[in-house]
């Protein structure tokens, strides 16, 4: 039995959807001029920039959205399956700061930090996908979107959760992905990336978000709606009310997306939070935030759509018991909710900071959550009686062949980040931060970059040099290819 966690009973779920459909028609959804003609062409009234979407049409378009799809790794193999109850994790994305590994103080993140994080995440099987995790403060901001993706594609073979911060940078990102994939058709057939697209709460598809939805749909590259109601501030204070708003934002987004290209892959994603009425902050580690994530995903699953949520992030400013308690709890809840992609690991301080040390600790929480959802299986014909028949009341189970055959399936073995009293600790008692640092170093030492095909690498570098030059970028930070240094025009 696969353990499951749900928060909405059927009548409440149906009320949520009924009100969401009501909202998208009246008061409607603010949309950008980019999609006016598209919506009007489908018979949707658009008045004063507000689209009034009829339920029947929205339902028809929801039915056109795929129930599932795959993201592929660099070699073209399916690596992440969106849909059903599959659960995957990726590191949190687009963070401005990093906890410096030496000082444990927050500072602006640099390209080298992103590369280290990618290399560590590459080595951890808990992360099925990478993310464009950090904003690299050492490259010009106007090329930040594609430069982050370039570094991830360069150092990782896993699928990528990414996104564009403007309408124009989306096309540069798609161009880069197409080069890496071997052309636009190859990218469409075997997409390696999914793009987050965020409506502005409440019920507003801004110019660039509207444009991203349409352009991604037409490019055939998966889009992930990340609706972010803040309960009590930009959304109703009740959790149920915020879930309604989330559903309305997702349904209206899917309407735009499916009108642009029916059947194009799209994800029912979420990064909701409560709004702390004492501080005005949005705690990602609050239990109510996790409840919103779970409930939002449940609505998406009810509609048969692939799901995403932002979890496994804590709010403290240091790696401490609070941050890890929050991150661990939400990892477990997200996994039990069967959310297809759970983003957020490694992040703390209300998503303002990333930490590679936290990422390896979170990986342990994720591994436990992954073990949990495997559930308890009857792996033997007789559950216990046959084993007792062999041992009698001596209870010497350690010698049984079943023990040796099955203990690896039954038990998860955490890394040395988790203190289980392993002998290699050699009597020392390093704290969790020190154990995490050791683990990071161990993973970085073991990491070996797998190069792309030489022609693709050259093409990617030529692309990066061309685009970088436009923004005055000198060289390509962290793209280290000494063997190409002698070739004119490269590096």
């Amino acid at each position: 039995m696969r353990p499951r966690f749900e928060l909405l009973d059927k009548p409440l779920l149906e009320r949520i959807l009924a009100e969401a459909f009501q909202l998208i028609e009246d008061p409607g959804v603010r949309v950008a001029p980019y999609v006016f003609d598209l919506l009007r062409g489908a018979g949707i009234a658009v008045r004063d920039g507000v689209a009034h979407i009829p339920e029947a049409l929205a339902r028809r378009l929801l039915d056109l959205a795929p129930r599932g799809f795959c993201l592929y790794d660099r070699s073209g193999k399916p690596a992440v399956r969106y849909g059903g109850d599959d659960v995957h994790f990726d590191p949190g994305s687009s963070c401005l700061n990093i906890l410096d590994p030496e000082t444990q103080q927050a500072r602006p993140a640099l390209s080298a930090d992103l590369v280290r994080l990618v290399q560590v995440a590459e080595m951890l099987p808990q992360f099925a996908a990478q993310s464009t995790a950090m904003v690299c403060n050492d490259v010009p901001p106007e090329i930040g979107d594609w430069y982050r993706l370039l570094l991830v594609l360069w150092y990782s073979e896993k699928p990528v959760v990414t996104g564009a911060f403007s309408a124009s940078s989306l096309h540069t990102l798609l161009e880069l992905l197409a080069i890496e994939s071997g052309g636009g058709d190859a990218l469409r057939q075997h997409p390696r990336a999914v793009f987050d697209v965020c409506p502005s709460p409440p019920l507003n598809w801004s110019e660039f978000a509207s444009q991203n939805l349409v352009d991604l749909a037409r490019a055939g590259v998966p889009a992930e709606i990340v609706s972010m109601p803040l309960a009590g501030a930009t959304a109703p204070v009740t959790l149920a009310g915020s879930v309604v708003q989330h559903a309305a934002e997702c349904i209206s987004g899917i309407t735009i997306h499916q009108l642009a290209q029916p059947g194009s892959p799209i994800v029912w994603g979420a990064a909701p939070a409560i709004f702390d009425m004492r501080t005005g902050k949005t705690p990602m580690g609050a239990i109510e935030t996790a409840m919103l994530d779970v409930a939002c995903a449940q609505v998406g699953k009810h509609l048969g759509l692939p799901t995403h949520a932002y979890m496994v992030a804590g709010d403290g400013r240091l790696i401490d018991a609070q941050v890890e308690m929050e991150s661990g709890m939400s990892a477990v809840l997200g996994a039990l909710a069967g959310i297809n992609m759970i983003s957020g690991a490694g992040m703390l301080d209300f998503l303002a900071c990333h930490s590679i040390e936290k990422l390896v600790i979170d990986a342990e929480a994720i591994a436990s959550a992954q073990r949990l959802i495997e559930g308890i299986e009857p792996r033997t014909d007789s559950l216990a009686v046959a084993m007792f028949a062999q041992t009698g009341l001596h209870g010497d189970f350690l010698k049984l062949k079943e023990t040796r055959a099955l203990f690896r399936k039954e038990q998860h073995f955490p890394s040395s980040v988790i203190d289980r009293g392993l002998p290699q600790m050699d009597g020392a008692t390093p704290d969790i931060l020190e154990r995490a640092r050791l683990r990071v170093n161990e993973l970085l030492s073991a990491y070996e970059r797998q190069p792309l095909a030489p022609e693709r690498e050259k093409e990617m570098i030529a692309f990066a040099q061309r685009e970088g030059k436009k923004a005055g970028l000198e060289g390509l930070p962290e793209i280290l290819r000494p063997e190409l240094a002698h070739e004119p025009g490269l590096i």
Partner: protein, 225 residues
């Protein structure tokens, strides 16, 4: 005016009751209480209580918003009378607030505006997606002491710099202090773009605004007349 009426005014602000506050303001005028006395002895102490209780974690943001609404309701009655009498309410400073160009997020800015108002600042909220030139023009027109610029996104944060540049271009930089805030904003960023201060949340924005006003007063005092 009996003290218990001032107490009722104070309580109407603490309760966040705009109708009661407005009614008490009208009663005060009918009883020929000087509007400035009603403000200083009745309503403003209520806002001070609210500010203190909020700082102690005993009141919450929705309470604060309701109190600010009650204060606005009372002032809507009393302000016209103050003007008729040619008097002015004592004020901590004039603040022009807005969210930077390209950014439509305003919760943080609204909170800052509410708290600044509660602490005696006169706040002019320019709304969202405000270009630097508009900040400068409004700062000049309204005689701003402080311009506050909010940004939620890493991409729009960069436009805070254009507000600093616009104020410089308009020749206002020496008269107007600039404070910046928003989720991605840091003290380092504020220093980098030449802003005068950074506040991490709404309460610290009030402390910062007071500090900037003190700096302004100090520098005015040492300037040759």
């Amino acid at each position: 005016m009996p003290n218990d009426n001032f107490s009722a005014m104070r309580q109407s602000i603490i309760d966040g009751a705009p109708d009661t506050a407005s009614g008490l303001a009208q009663q005060a005028l009918a009883a020929r209480v000087a509007p400035i006395d009603a403000i200083n002895n009745g309503f403003v102490p209520g806002m001070h209580d609210v500010g203190e209780q909020f700082a102690k974690g005993q009141m919450f943001l929705p309470d604060m918003m309701a109190s600010a609404e009650a204060m606005r309701a009372a002032m809507a009655v009393l302000d016209p009378e103050l003007k008729k009498l040619g008097t002015q309410r004592p004020m901590a400073g004039v603040v022009v607030l807005g969210t930077t160009r390209g950014d439509i997020h305003e919760i943080g800015k609204i909170l800052v505006g509410t708290l600044l108002t509660a602490h005696g600042f006169r706040v002019h909220d320019l709304g969202v997606d405000v270009p630097g030139e508009k900040f400068a023009a409004q700062a000049r027109e309204l005689g701003a002491d402080i311009v506050g610029v909010s940004a939620l996104l890493t991409t729009t944060m960069r436009n805070q710099k254009s507000v600093v540049e616009a104020l410089e271009k308009a020749g206002l930089r020496s008269q107007v202090k600039i404070m910046v805030g928003g989720a991605p904003v840091t003290r380092r960023w504020a220093d980098e773009i030449g802003a005068d201060g950074y506040a991490k949340d709404a309460m610290s924005a009030v402390a910062l605004a007071r500090e900037l006003m003190a700096q302004k007063t100090q520098s005015a005092a040492v300037e040759p007349v």
